[in-house]
């Protein structure tokens, strides 16, 4: 079966996010007041797997071995 997994990787709660801070500042320059802003990285990967659970397991391994750095990141996985 073909599955599409969507992986979202974000900084753990409380981690400094200089990118988000700079974007928030730029939005402010354009007149947008924001209370909070965070950023995340999204990967959409199509792969072959026997079932949805196997696709999720593979995606988790991809995160643990390359896509995320466990020191600073957390991730969520959606399978469709």
């Amino acid at each position: 079966m073909k599955y599409t997994v969507t992986i979202t990787i974000r900084l753990k709660e409380g981690m400094l996010n200089p990118e988000a801070r700079a974007i928030q500042h730029a939005l402010k320059n354009l007149g947008f007041q924001t209370e909070d802003l965070s950023t995340a990285r999204l990967f959409r990967i199509t792969l072959e797997a026997p079932d949805a659970e196997a696709a999720r397991k593979t995606a988790r391994q991809m995160c643990d071995r390359l896509l995320a750095n466990p020191v600073i990141h957390e991730y969520t996985i959606e399978v469709e």
């Binding site: 981690m15 400094l16 200089p18 990118e19 801070r21 700079a22 071995r65 390359l66 896509l67 750095n69 020191v71 600073i72």
Partner: protein
């Protein structure tokens, strides 16, 4: 000297090792693997794989890095400079991660460093507390590690260098990138890997304005001459 696609300090560091320190050094393209037995491996600065994903993340998962990890586990000396430090941390050779500077711009300038450890193979020619001037050149050099890991690094004297002012005081004013506790050089558990963001090869000749960095390479040479290659035991057990 391992060359990845996007390494750009490989020839500078090679020049210092060969012409300043007088060491037989090979430039090894990452796809070629190691053909000889080496006393030390240097992972140079640069922008391997264009810093895609995270600085050093992709180079850290190349087959030659699997060789470097095996080499380090067997006690071989590995020095990671700038992008090489990012690669070493991404490869798990040292704890923590070097990530986007607190103020997210590229910083290229001389900084002062306080030498915190003088018993490792990389720092044995320095005096403890010595202040040295070495340039940094990075956008992703802010050192981050969990509090427990920082506590352990301090307890085990595995912090090699901290950013400081000219007098050696450590504080937020002299911390250019927001690194935790101003840490910018970390040793592995067995002290045979040093990952550092500053560029010692850019401070190894008087003509460059500072020779403070050359002691790192000379320390490695002195260590290898004294103890021979591949020294798997902890340094403090020997002194």
């Amino acid at each position: 000297m391992v060359q990845f696609g996007g390494s750009n300090c490989d020839r500078d560091t090679h020049h210092v090792l060969v012409d300043v320190c007088g060491v037989d050094t090979d430039l090894v393209w990452y796809k070629d693997g190691f053909a000889r037995q080496y006393d030390a491996v240097v992972l140079p600065g640069g922008f391997s794989y264009g810093d895609y994903l995270r600085a050093g993340a992709i180079a850290a998962r190349t087959p030659i890095m699997a060789e470097v990890i095996r080499y380090a586990r067997a006690g071989g000396l590995v020095l990671g400079i700038c992008n090489g430090a990012q690669i070493a941390s991404e490869a798990g050779l040292v704890p923590g991660v070097f990530t986007l500077n607190a103020y997210p711009k590229f910083i290229s300038r001389h900084v002062n460093l306080r030498v915190e450890n003088t018993t490792s193979p990389f720092t044995m020619l320095y005096r403890e507390g010595e202040v040295i001037r070495i340039p940094i050149a990075h956008a992703e050099g802010r050192y981050v590690a969990p509090p427990g890991e920082i506590e352990r690094l301090n307890r085990e004297k595995r912090v090699a260098f901290r950013f400081c002012d000219e007098q050696g005081n450590v504080g937020p004013e002299s911390n250019p990138n927001g690194s935790i506790e101003s840490i910018t050089g970390i040793l592995s558990e067995n002290r045979n890997v040093l990952a550092m963001m500053p560029h010692p090869e850019r401070a190894s000749e008087a003509v460059l304005g500072s020779e403070d960095g050359v002691k790192i390479f000379n320390s490695m040479i002195a260590y290898i001459e004294k103890y021979g290659r591949r020294s798997p035991t902890r340094q403090e057990n020997r002194t």
